[in-house]
Subunit: 111 residues, 2 copies
Amino acid sequence: MAFHKKEEFTQKEQDLAAFAKAMSHPARIAILKILAQRNECICGEIVDVLPLAQSTVSQHLKELKNAGLIDGTVEGPRSCYCINWKAFEKFSSEFNILFNHLKVKNEKACC
Amino acid sequence: MAFHKKEEFTQKEQDLAAFAKAMSHPARIAILKILAQRNECICGEIVDVLPLAQSTVSQHLKELKNAGLIDGTVEGPRSCYCINWKAFEKFSSEFNILFNHLKVKNEKACC
DNA sequence: AATTCTAATCGTATATTTGCGATATAAGAT
DNA sequence: ATCTTATATCGCAAATATACGATTAGAATT
């Protein structure tokens, strides 16, 4: 009982973990790459390229959107998605801060 | 049927996703931070600090080890863990490459 | 108004993750 | 030899994630 104890960690730890989680599936990595390559950002194009059903892609897009990594707007009958660069850079710089913080502290392995 | 279609994506996408997955839980983020702060790297100290049972911490350590982010060696009756800086930097630079690649391509949102 | 096209959502099956207590293992201390 | 002590592993329960087909909803086309 008392499962997912995530809330017992710091907000920063939770935020970083949530960001990592959003990227923890190859389909979502692939989606981010596609969104960057094509300016059109039409959902259907992603479905065409990925080896997944439309509903599954839609679900992955929703997760990326919930994590704040992408924005999505309805454009008539279709949906236009694009990377939320602001959030993306914020998270990636926080990751770098973590990396650098770790690296500076202790460059030599202890065991 | 035919679940986890992860193998249908590129190796790089899978590797990045696996790296992100290893960091996708606040407990594992916290463990990495602890390992960086303390040179001793003793498992028991992590258990003392985290709000999780010993067996659960051991499991998280195992996952980080399987992902290649940390090394662990047996030291008499206890286990010494430390960050695998080489793997860590490799992955973090691959992340940065992805970030920069994305950023250069398309700085302006399309929708 | 009926049809088509695009994308989201629902329902569902299966797989994986998370967490814990109990047990096993292995080294050190008594 | 026995008893701690430290950690890993096993077995299980609950939660979450992944995937799909079917359905729904809304806009554009006919």
